[in-house]
Subunit: 147 residues, 2 copies
DNA sequence: CCTTGACTTGAAGTGAACTTCAACTGTGAC
DNA sequence: GTCACAGTTGAAGTTCACTTCAAGTCAAGG
């Protein structure tokens, strides 16, 4: 069972032009061709596209993903490199999550701030709010009232 | 108390060129100038730079951050818009965290997979591993062994 | 006063990841 | 057979957020 590039695009929600680009960049080294030189995507190629997406989400560049695919093609002698790559991905994803958590805390403070401001009718009213009317989870950001 | 662009760059770890760019793009509308036309960063400008970073992390484009700064300058009549903006930011950050969580699960599967492969000496050995030797937290990804 | 070095500007350049274009070819439904 | 349409290619274009450059100004220490 194979899929055309259009079917694959539909299936994965990735534009066909993107997949041609990935192919050209060597991210789909095992992709075979069918009638008339058309790309014939097999299940393993769909799998590869999912892994590409995962590696992209982890913050890898196209060139690094190409490197991974080259290692994959070289077989068991590159297992160590591939293991290391995914360990680095893991660290990177965890760092991104921590960063996002810090961002969320600021955003939630701002949500509270503007909610209070709209219901009180002015920013000044929020700035003048007595300490004990500020929810505990937000108090740490009291010194960031500006803007 | 004011800081030069160089001091501010040092303080926040943001290149001076980036802050000039933000200024040019209207992201620092209240930034004042000191002797010789030099930018004089006050505490509120540092605060603004932190908010810019937060909004960027949330996924806003420069043009959207500029819009926010314009609303800020217009005062209390734009409180509603600013509240809505931060609510959208919150949704967007939560979605990013969910996406990252899904990525992490795949990455952790791959970590397990390559760890097993390196210790067993080959990928085939992992593929041949009996079901009951696969940790429960990973079993859901069994069908993604390829690549 | 003079020099050093941090600042100023507008304009041009960069890098990454696509996307679009133009010209062409082959497939498959009628 | 024919014809629309999905696919092919290399090259050029796009977008975004900076970054670098070139040419000039100004402040402050010696």
């Amino acid at each position: 069972m194979t899929y055309t590039i259009g079917e694959t695009a539909e299936l994965l929600g990735v534009p066909a032009s993107t997949m041609r680009y990935y192919d050209k960049e060597g991210l789909l080294p095992e992709l075979s061709r069918g009638a008339g030189g058309r790309r014939a995507f097999e299940d393993k190629d769909l799998e590869a596209l999912k892994v590409i997406d995962c590696l992209k989400q982890s913050g890898l560049h196209i060139s690094e993903i190409r490197q991974f695919m080259q290692w994959y093609q070289q077989g068991d002698e590159t297992l160590k490199q591939r293991q290391e790559l995914f360990q680095n991905c893991r660290t990177s994803v965890l760092e991104q999550m921590e960063q996002l958590q810090r961002t969320l805390e600021i955003v939630e403070y701002k949500c509270w701030y503007y909610e209070a401001a709209t219901s009180l009718g002015s920013e000044q009213a929020v700035i003048d709010l007595p300490e004990d009317q500020i929810p505990a989870r937000i108090r740490g950001y009291r010194d960031r009232l500006e803007v």
